[in-house]
């Protein structure tokens, strides 16, 4: 029987006790006679031992400080959510309640024919509630616009340009609706159009703030998902 030197891979397996009992005994027997292979095994063992003693390495303190600063900045950004919500939510909730009143009146109008006195009273109610809803939306819009103004320059120019174009379109719709209401105060279409345009503006401004947050966090890819979510939660027909 020849006593060949085992390959180093076999010695590695021997070291890790991964060999079948018979193979293990065979290597053991060879090692008892071969100084060279014993030396190889000792070297491998020393590497394993030295590796297990390599210490952890403490990072400089500034790394945590930097991580903490990033997290704090994110928290302050996410606080812009509650910040704008605090501006927006009461106004939107009030506007939504008023829109509900107007909608109820619109539904009633399609029912029994009201008396002239009823018509006058209802017309007055609609006009007043519409004004109030408009005022609440306007308050929300002012708050949102302030937040956006404080973050001027954060959004990429192309994106800001698209948002501005959309805002212009909505502004036109608001202007046209108001003109229509001034001409025909009782026009259901004009009233609905105005409320819809105001809702659209609020939604667009909310999404703009959301985009600003995402861009500042460097996570622009999340913005669209979040915008979809925001659309659901800011639908005035589903008060927040």
């Amino acid at each position: 029987m020849t006593d060949e030197h085992p390959e180093i891979e076999r010695l590695n397996e021997y070291l890790d006790q991964e060999l079948a009992p018979r193979d293990h005994r065979q290597i053991e027997s060879h090692l008892s006679r071969c100084e060279g292979c014993r030396q190889v095994l000792d070297d491998l063992s020393a590497i394993v031992r030295a590796a297990s003693e390599l210490p952890p390495i403490a990072p400089p303190e500034r790394i945590w400080e930097s991580i903490a600063a990033s997290l704090i900045e994110r928290k302050s950004l996410s606080k812009s959510g509650p910040a704008w919500r605090s501006v927006l939510l009461p106004a939107l909730a009030a506007a939504a309640a008023l829109v509900l009143g107007v909608s109820l009146w619109l539904v009633l109008r399609t029912g029994e024919t009201p008396t002239p006195a009823d018509q006058e009273a209802l017309a007055y109610m609609v006009t007043e509630e519409l004004k109030a809803a408009e005022s609440h939306y306007d308050n929300a819009i002012v708050g949102l616009e302030q937040i956006i103004a404080q973050n001027d320059g954060v959004l990429p120019r192309e994106l800001a340009s698209v948002l501005t174009q959309n805002l212009d379109l909505i502004e036109n719709a608001i202007g046209e609706s108001r003109t229509a209401i001034a001409t025909e105060p009782q026009s259901t279409a004009a009233q609905e159009s105005l409320l819809q345009a105001l809702r659209s503006k609020v939604t667009l401004l909310q999404n703009t703030i959301l985009l600003i947050n995402e861009v500042r966090k460097g996570q622009g890819e999340n913005a669209l998902d979040l915008i979809d979510e925001m659309r659901k939660t800011t639908d005035p027909s589903n008060p927040i």
Binding site: V40, A46, S52, E53, P55, I57, P59, I63
Partner: protein, 204 residues
């Protein structure tokens, strides 16, 4: 009481992070896991202090891995920061099937391997000598830690990763395989290859 030099050296060793190996032998692994789980839960509830505690418990081990993997201190520091920020972002999806430490190692080793792949594509040999920065003066039967650190830096990335996870961090091959997305046999093979290459490098 030791000599003034010994005292200074002891303090310096402490400040350089030459602490007990990770995971600490003195702490029961299960107890450590339970503590981590609690800190994870508190972090999810928004407690920054809990996340800092997680950082304090794991950052030295992860920084050691990153430094030995990347062989460049500035890159390792950036990597450590990225790893913990990513870990924070991903905590909501951490299901606790593995220990937080294992999960963090998985995230870390894959980030390091990705970094090496992209760095390799950008520039072949930006690697700077690492050894002067490492506290590696461990004497083990004639083999000095410093020599071993240098030789580890010459290993191919996958072998280096498997070797560090198995022999330095103490994970078994099943865990290494799961972390690196490879079979158990591949992990063993990578570690064996690493040991063989280290032996050759140290013999030079």
């Amino acid at each position: 009481m030791g000599s003034p030099v010994a005292v200074i050296e002891a303090k310096r060793a402490k400040s350089e992070g030459q602490l007990s190996p990770f995971p600490p032998q003195s702490l029961d692994r299960d107890a450590r896991r339970r503590e981590d789980d609690e800190l994870v839960e508190r972090t999810r509830r928004g407690e920054m202090e809990a996340f800092e505690a997680l950082y304090r418990r794991h950052s030295s081990a992860i920084f050691g891995l990153a430094l030995r993997m990347l062989q460049n201190r500035a890159d390792a520091e950036d990597m450590l920061q990225e790893i913990f920020l990513q870990a924070y972002d991903r905590l909501p999806s951490f299901e606790g099937r593995s220990a937080f430490g294992t999960w963090l190692y998985r995230l870390s080793v894959n980030r390091c391997l990705d970094h090496l792949r992209s760095r390799g594509a950008r520039e072949q040999s930006r690697t700077e000598p690492l050894t002067p920065e490492l506290p590696g003066r461990v004497s083990t039967g004639g083999l000095r830690g410093l020599e071993l650190e240098r030789a580890i830096g010459e290993l191919p990335p996958s072998s280096r990763a498997a070797f560090l996870l198995h022999h330095v961090a103490g994970f078994d091959h099943k865990e290494v395989g799961e972390m690196m997305g490879i079979a158990v046999g591949t992990s063993k093979s990578l570690v064996h290859r690493a040991r063989t290459r280290l032996k050759e490098a140290l013999a030079r």
